[in-house]
């Protein structure tokens, strides 16, 4: 399958939320690039699944799209603004529009659920007041609670995050991403460490929220069923390049499985 052709053909003419051109990354001390010359556009509101075998650089690709890992070459535009080459201060403002949900939720243990969610607003409401929920402005605390309501965990606002279950932690991480008032959400294997039931609940939460807020979603997953059920389009990495870029409607679990052969 040719990546460029498919990405051009199947997409409705919406303004792109993310544009990636000729992206390459080689880790220090590695002999071969993780991937090279990766290009794709993600229109606003689209839900994209990134799939591929272990070590094909799915998580690296997601992180490079926010420059959490610096790509070696290529160009990234986020919401029509250049992300590559921009100054760190500007980069921080751009990152604020993208919620990032990690495989291992990455909440700060020992702090309360509400404080963790409040940290999601750090790019717009910053300074010592927002370090702990106790000192934050009422409007921000209320908005944080509203975000928790959306993931149905408002009743756990005062609990410490290290006292939550895996599924609850991941939903708090989603609430933290919502606190950013994002236009886009990146999720790196968000259900990999959850049991099947909790995993389905988290994916459902993503689906509902992205629909309700019109968010763009890019998620990495090893669950081909999740890609089929929750994505509009799938990007597949194999052999150091973007090997698959196709609308989900034309695929099946069996056809996606060939990527792992």
């Amino acid at each position: 399958m040719n990546a460029a052709n498919l990405s051009n053909g199947a997409i409705a003419p919406l303004p792109p939320a993310l544009e990636v051109r000729g992206l390459s990354k080689t880790f220090r001390n590695a002999t071969a690039p993780v991937w090279s010359n990766v290009s794709f556009n993600v229109p606003a509101g689209q839900r994209v699944a990134i799939i591929g075998g272990n070590g094909t650089g799915k998580s690296t690709l997601l992180r490079c799209c926010l420059r959490l890992i610096e790509p070696d070459a290529g160009e990234i535009r986020l919401h029509d603004k250049a992300l590559t080459g921009t100054h760190f201060r500007h980069l921080r403002r751009m990152r604020a529009h993208v919620g990032f949900v990690f495989q291992k939720h990455n909440l700060v243990p020992r702090l309360s659920v509400l404080t963790n969610v409040l940290h999601g607003g750090m790019a717009r409401a910053r300074g010592p007041r927002y370090w702990l929920q106790a000192f934050a402005r009422r409007e921000e605390r209320e908005y944080a609670l509203h975000c928790l309501e959306q993931v149905k965990l408002a009743h756990l606002a005062t609990r410490r995050t290290d006292h939550l279950s895996g599924g609850q932690s991941q939903r708090v991480a989603i609430a933290r991403a919502l606190m950013q008032q994002p236009k886009m959400i990146f999720a790196d294997e968000p259900v990999a460490s959850l049991d099947p039931q909790a995993g389905e609940e988290v994916m459902e939460t993503f689906a509902e929220l992205t629909r309700a807020h019109g968010l763009t979603l890019m998620f990495v997953s090893h669950h081909l069923e999740h890609a089929m059920n929750y994505a509009d389009r799938v990007l597949g990495l194999r052999g150091g390049k973007l090997d698959l870029d196709t609308p989900i409607a034309t695929e099946s679990v069996a056809s996606l499985r060939t990527l792992y052969a």
Binding site: R92, F100, H119
Partner: protein, 271 residues
């Protein structure tokens, strides 16, 4: 063992044969140690002839004197105050230095090396040397002792705080970076809460250490109960010395037990 279970492989020897170099080093160490026994002035006759003196001094220590009880109590209080203030100021100064010295938060490797070097230097110079330096600089009294404890705390906490920060899970700080938080926000909101148990532990050890060393600092004129102890020993008032030693014992035990309670309480709290 039954024959059926006998293995075809040969059993490894119980001990490996040391290399000629390690054997040589071991012999060299033994030779140096024997020489050191002479250098350290180990003398059994002196020990035996000193035993009656020890018994006499121990006898004179009982019962402990109570004639200078109040001034001594005041000196113990000053010692404790020096330890509290010295540790607190030292902790506050250690935190930013530790951030600069930590691999994951230092703005530049050169800054990190410079700050690490400074902390190592401060730690390597013994506290008695610092105390003498400050006594000469700012005069006799508790201020010289407090300055010593500040420097001592920086040397101790600067290193362990930096290591505690380096050991935290990099995930939550990465998540904060992805949100668009600034470096200070990331340190305060993610790194410090995660390193908190370790920071609290180190701080309380620093306090215990400060209480113990503030006693010794008095011996060189840096204020507190140590000065009283020195005077009592030099004037052969061993009964007063025993009172002081008991007071120090109570203070150190009290601080250690309070700090372990505080440790359990603080580490369980909500953020």
């Amino acid at each position: 063992m039954p024959d059926s279970q006998a293995s075809a492989s040969t059993l490894p020897t119980r001990f490996g044969v040391p290399s000629p170099l390690s054997a040589l080093l071991f012999v060299a160490f033994l030779a140096f140690f024997s020489w050191s026994l002479a250098g350290a002035g180990i003398s059994i006759p002196s020990l035996i002839s000193g035993l009656p003196n020890m018994a006499r001094i121990a006898g004179e220590m009982v019962p402990p004197a109570t004639d200078r009880f109040l001034p001594m109590l005041q000196s113990v209080l000053v010692t404790f105050q020096m330890a509290i203030v010295g540790t607190a100021i030292g902790l506050v100064l250690s935190l930013p230095l530790a951030v600069l010295a930590s691999r994951n938060h230092s703005p530049h490797p050169l800054v990190r090396s410079a700050v690490r070097g400074l902390i190592s230097f401060v730690r390597t110079v013994p506290d008695l040397a610092w105390a003498l330096f400050f006594v000469v600089s700012v005069g006799l009294g508790p201020f010289a002792g407090t300055l010593t404890l500040i420097v001592d705390t920086i040397g101790f906490c600067g290193r362990f705080f930096a290591e505690a920060m380096e050991e935290v899970d990099p995930g939550p700080p990465e998540a904060m970076a992805a949100i668009g938080a600034g470096p200070v926000d990331i340190i305060v909101c993610a790194t410090l809460p995660m390193a908190l148990p370790s920071l609290i532990n180190t701080s309380l050890f620093a306090l215990e250490k400060a209480v113990r060393s503030s006693v010794v600092l008095g011996l060189v004129g840096a204020g507190g109960i140590g000065a009283e102890l020195a005077v009592s020993m030099e004037t052969f008032r061993f009964d007063q010395a025993s009172t002081i030693i008991l007071m120090i014992l109570v203070l150190v035990i009290a601080v250690e037990s309070l700090s372990s309670r505080a440790r359990a309480h603080l580490i369980g709290g909500r953020g």
